[in-house]
């Protein structure tokens, strides 16, 4: 059923466009997958939702491929998920093996991506079936668990992560209260009565803020002057032998990390690299240009970018900022992701999942045959690119209500995003809380109405208890880490920064 939808000319074109844009976004500095999806989302108001979500999915996993090129050729990750690839990829490029490095990343991503799609096909419907048992307490527990996971995987100061989450929740509740109809924090401004549109916030906080932050960073990087011929892209037998299990392990790790709300593709690639180093017979060679050091994290980040759709589709809970923006897109198109999505919008779900097979195939072809095109994109000056980001962000904000007020508000959020980044308040928790805010509030209020105000309802139902326990454990993680560090157990952080 899925292929009959994803193989239509229209959807094939959207898939190709998404993969191409994603690959491009991965290559270009100063623009990431959330920014690209945020800027393009308002332009899909009139597009068929299935085609639009196929486009955005293509961008999401396309970015995971594209980020590799800059990691290998200029030692600058196009995306945070490609940080680990820099370690061995750049070293291989310096040894004259850039083609093999890019090739193993592309092929590894394709194999792991395809494996992840197969697992997603088996896992997502089962997860959706399980989620049919969820009531308001379970959904509140799930939201709490998603927020809690940010303190585990988010990196940085846990207090700042919590503050950022709370600010996101606050922004989500501005406007008329759905239950009582009372305006909250609208201050008689008519434009605020309906709440602040999610698109306005993300266009500012990802689009404009990204421009301000990128302008501050030095971007003088040296592109390795190495001609990559087609024959360089083919792996030799030794490369295959060395990377086959690394791809498999990375794919499996990536798939499971992607399932965790807030797990994210960066964490997946980081853990896969560490795991590969641990099982390797020559761990001391990691960082000097070993092919497994590229195969495993690249396989993991692609697998995670695909499995990240399972919590989004089956539970309605996004696993990353990009899927959070896609969730907002679903709401914009009048579709509610969650357990019933598989019954009510089966064509969309299976069309999307099957498009991933096609998208992965398109991307591996692009990465083998179009590398010179993408490398030439690296020479586009950021001072040209930023103007277009401003145009897309402004028009994106305008289209939400056709109001100039939203453009000014978007600029305000751009400044807020810039200041938050400078002061090291993470943006991702704010975005996740913004998307899940209404769900969290409604399920909290409904649960307390059911229980007559008794908060133990969250701890007396088994599924809700499990989620709440995981949330509490997640919030306590920083304390465990601090304790372990003080006890002399050294680096226990899961953050990329800890390298």
């Amino acid at each position: 059923m899925g292929f009959s939808i994803s193989m239509t000319w229209e959807n094939l074109l959207y898939c190709l466009a998404g993969c191409f844009v994603g690959q491009l976004v991965g290559v270009l500095p100063g623009i990431g997958a959330p920014t690209a999806v945020a800027l393009l989302l308002p332009l899909t108001f009139s597009v068929n939702p299935t085609s639009a979500i196929i486009l955005f999915a293509g961008i999401y996993y396309g970015v995971a491929y594209g980020g590799t090129i800059t990691s290998v050729l200029i030692n600058v990750p196009g995306e945070s998920s490609s940080v680990m690839t820099c370690l061995d990829g750049y070293q291989m490029a310096k040894q004259g093996r850039a083609g093999a490095a890019l090739s193993v990343a592309a092929i590894g991503s394709w194999i792991a991506g395809t494996l992840s799609v197969v697992l997603l096909m088996a896992f997502a419907p089962a997860l959706a079936k399980f989620a049919l048992r969820f009531g308001p307490p379970e959904y509140f527990g799930l939201a709490m668990m998603a927020f809690g996971m940010l303190t585990v995987f988010g990196g940085g100061d846990p207090i700042k992560i919590i503050i950022s989450t709370l600010v996101g929740l606050f922004l989500a509740i501005i406007g008329l209260d759905i239950v009582s109809g009372v305006p909250r924090f609208a201050f008689d401004i008519p434009q605020l009565l309906g709440g602040i549109d999610f698109i306005v916030i993300i266009c500012g906080i990802f689009g404009l803020a990204e421009v301000f932050n990128s302008l501050e960073q030095e971007q003088e990087t040296e592109l390795l002057k190495q001609k990559i011929k087609l024959k360089d892209m083919f792996l030799n037998w030794d490369d295959w032998v060395a990377s086959r299990w690394a791809i498999f392990r990375g794919g499996v790790i990536g798939f499971f990390i992607g399932l965790i709300p807030a797990g994210g593709i960066t964490t997946a690639s980081f853990l896969a690299y560490l795991a590969e180093k641990r099982v390797s017979k020559h761990p001391e060679k990691f960082g000097t240009g070993v092919i497994e050091g590229i195969a495993s994290p690249e396989a993991a980040n692609n697998a995670a970018s695909i499995s990240g759709f399972a919590p989004l589709l089956a539970l309605g809970v996004p696993g990353s900022p990009t899927t959070a923006i896609m969730l907002a897109g679903f709401m914009m198109w009048g579709i509610r992701p969650g357990p019933l999505l598989f019954q009510n919008n089966a064509d969309l779900v299976w069309g999307l999942i099957s498009s991933k097979f096609i998208g992965n195939f398109l991307l591996v072809c692009m990465n083998i045959f179009l590398i010179p095109v993408f490398v030439s994109m690296l020479r586009v000056p950021y001072t040209i690119l930023m103007g277009f980001i401003v145009i897309f962000a402004s028009i994106g904000a305008f289209t939400t209500n056709n109001s100039l007020f939203d453009i000014w508000m978007m600029m305000g959020f751009g400044i807020l995003g810039y200041i938050m980044t400078k002061l090291k308040y993470p943006i991702v928790p704010l975005v996740l809380a913004l998307v899940l805010g209404r769900l969290a509030e409604n399920s909290l209020r409904q649960s307390l109405m059911i229980s007559g105000g008794d908060p133990t309802i969250f701890f007396t139902r088994p599924i809700s208890l499990l989620f709440m326990a995981l949330a509490i454990l997640a919030y306590l993680t920083p304390i465990f880490r601090w304790g372990l560090k003080r006890a002399g157990y050294g680096k226990v952080s899961l953050n990329v920064e800890s390298l």
Binding site: I163, I173, I391
Partner: protein
């Protein structure tokens, strides 16, 4: 940077206070259950506590000078861009969104990127046409028009 962190911590604390003050008039609890003020009050308290912790952390920081700087010499590029965006937005009612934003782009290329005038001019015209036809005509977005009708 310490000063910026300190001011940021106070801003968080004041935001928490602001939310608490404005959530008090909202009903905290109704006969049906939690009212519209229930979550805002909890959020306000949470943000306030977070702000207090950050202020205390800033006070207790051992190294108050060696944490880098909030504004670097390159920060002025960001401010220039912000200024150009503000001017671009102010020009929208007069020039329309196509030309307002295109001029902003061209000015940014000239001021920040030091590109040639011709390159900037061509980009401005090209992006105005792109905005008008792609967003205005193809995607049918009712873009604000200026004096020349674009």
């Amino acid at each position: 940077m310490w000063r910026a962190q300190f001011i940021g911590a106070w801003a968080v604390l004041l935001l928490g206070l602001f939310i608490i003050v404005f959530s008090i008039p909202l009903q905290y609890y109704t006969e049906l259950g939690p009212g519209p003020g229930f979550l805002p009050l909890l959020l306000g308290i949470g943000i306030l506590i977070g702000g207090v912790i950050e202020v205390v952390k800033a006070f207790m920081a051992k190294n108050k000078t060696g944490q880098g700087v909030f504004l670097t010499p390159r920060s002025k590029l960001g401010f220039q861009m912000l200024g150009l965006i503000v001017v671009g937005f102010l020009l929208i009612p007069v020039l329309g969104i196509s030309f307002g934003l295109s001029l902003c782009t061209a000015a940014a290329m000239k001021v920040i990127g030091k590109h040639k005038v011709l390159t900037c001019g061509l980009t401005a015209v090209g992006s105005a046409i792109f905005i008008h036809y792609v967003f205005g005509q193809w995607l049918d977005i009712p873009l604000p028009k200026g004096l020349i009708g674009w």
